[in-house]
Symmetry: C2
Subunit: 322 residues, 2 copies
């Protein structure tokens, strides 16, 4: 049986192999993905994000259990953005999710940056497509909510769940406030802890400010939920909110639009990498271009002057102007 | 007097204006930078990074006071990576640094992503050059230690100070372990808190593991320091370690090499953006290319197939192979 047929039959080992091929830019990955593509676009992709220590993994674990109870097959991509330094996924308490390891209705994949061509967002996008083609729905993406990588990854999701936690200090709250605009569902996890009421009021106020600034007609009003994920409290209500957000998106055409936009973003990112790789390969073969690069290394010219010179050398200034 | 002359005379208002021009891609910024470039490369650039809540701002504030005591003029770039959503720098407790606001020997600049062409790392690089040309030395870059942006920014620094704090839970420690390899100086801040001894042992063990894996000859052995930044405890010792790292770099040629490498990285990043912008501009003017992009939006072809088609259309596949 072909890789494509096996993925469509949801064979986990084949799905994992295909994700690896795509990470490694193995041409077999691209070929299979091309055939699988018409079978994608069905899964609701859910981003679960928030600061370190907010209990995201425990919450994802609870959501998996809830979706299994509802008879749904669940894909999970656990993203570790810190790993460019460490060379491997930092699993931390994600090990807890392992209670689902023997369940064929759950596919959990950890992703790190190292060794992935084209960046973490692209690899996460690819993995999402594979899980989607395998019939997993929803696909959960768990990630720490800080940094540009996170922004890119969050943009892959139809629905973003922002997880906060009481008593983590001002700076954490400030960062959370910064990512506020990205969330469609807000969760205060560890809601039995001191400070939960205060955090609730803060978030409510911020959501109010956000709503008053936006387009009110047909808008989604982000719910603010409380959970104690370690005791599964509030998790069914969260799953319900996620389902309601899907309905909201489908009613307004947002579900398909989201898929189209993220495909376009991924295409532009890929185009960027591919074109640059080709220009650099050409530059290294060209003595005049190589001399420009050498001058930058010796700090004899600044990098921006060098870029202008390289673009002129490859006639790209003219190309843009015609 | 020209902008360049005023920057070299360390006029703060002019320096701030030049940084803004560079952020906005105002051509006057590039012109001035080209002239200023020979006057750069003197400042030691120091990254101060760590998880939210580690007390980085307080530590930076303490370092400013220490450097002022030593008669040094200090530049500070406070980077906020979370702001693509919020549209402004999250200042949080950075306000504390304001006690230096009236001191002409201190230049503090907050940076956010929004509105900056070419990304946060490039803007931070530009600001570092301006502060360097103004004669500030050292230049401190404060940033939260999570995400790819952070990695890029950390790579701008000659010396990276990794700040940890006791009692922040396992996930935080795991992320910190992930960025371990980037640090040249390790600080346990809030070292009067419970758990400091345990964190010290953990970091010591990780540093030992890291050293045993690397090249031992002429290597820098990262010191592990304890501070209580809110009481200025341990801050002079940190400043000494930073000075020793500079000596180490200068002795081994690493100081100049670091500058050359970061110039090259910035050039490649700029080349990437510039080339892609030109290719996309061409594609939008070209009906066949526009049709390919439209197919991606309609999800009729996958983004990777589209990239191959676009590259072929612009003859870039051949260009790379010749």
């Amino acid at each position: 049986m072909s890789v494509v047929a096996e993925v469509l039959e949801a064979r986990i080992a084949t799905g994992a192999r295909l994700i690896r091929w795509l990470e490694d830019a193995d041409p077999r990955g691209r070929t299979a993905l091309r055939e699988l593509y018409p079978h994608t676009g069905r899964a609701q992709v859910i981003g679960v994000t928030g600061p370190p220590g907010a209990g995201k993994s425990t919450l994802v674990d609870g959501l998996i259990a809830e979706y299994r109870r509802l008879g749904r097959r669940v894909g999970v991509i656990a993203v570790d953005p810190s790993s460019p330094f460490s060379g491997g996924a930092v699993l931390g308490d994600r090990v807890r999710m392992q209670r689902h390891a023997a369940d064929a209705g759950v596919f959990i994949r950890s992703m790190a940056t190292r060794g992935q061509l084209g960046g973490l967002a692209r690899s996460t996008f690819d993995a999402t497509l594979v899980l989607d083609a395998m019939g997993y729905d929803p696909v959960l993406i768990e990630t720490v909510g800080v940094g540009q990588d996170e922004v890119d990854i969050i943009q892959l999701a139809h629905t973003t769940v922002l997880v906060s936690v009481p008593g983590m200090g001002d700076e954490v709250q400030a960062i959370k406030a910064g990512v506020l605009e990205a969330g469609q569902i807000f969760v205060i996890n560890k809601a039995d802890r001191p400070g939960a009421d205060q955090l609730h009021r803060q978030l409510e106020m911020m959501l109010h400010l956000r709503e008053s600034g936006g387009d009110a007609s047909a808008a989604w009003h982000p719910p603010l939920l409380a959970t104690v994920a370690s005791r599964d409290e509030g998790v069914p209500a969260l799953a319900e909110s996620i389902a309601r957000h899907r309905e909201h998106l489908e009613a307004g055409g947002g579900f398909a639009r989201q898929l189209a936009e993220r495909s376009e973003q991924i295409m532009l990112g890929e185009l960027r990498s591919a074109v640059t790789a080709r220009i650099i390969a050409r530059a290294l073969d060209d003595p005049q271009a190589a001399a420009i690069i050498e001058k930058v290394r010796e700090r004899r010219i600044d990098p921006y002057t060098a870029v202008d010179a390289l673009l002129a050398r490859f006639d790209l200034v003219t190309a843009a102007q015609t």
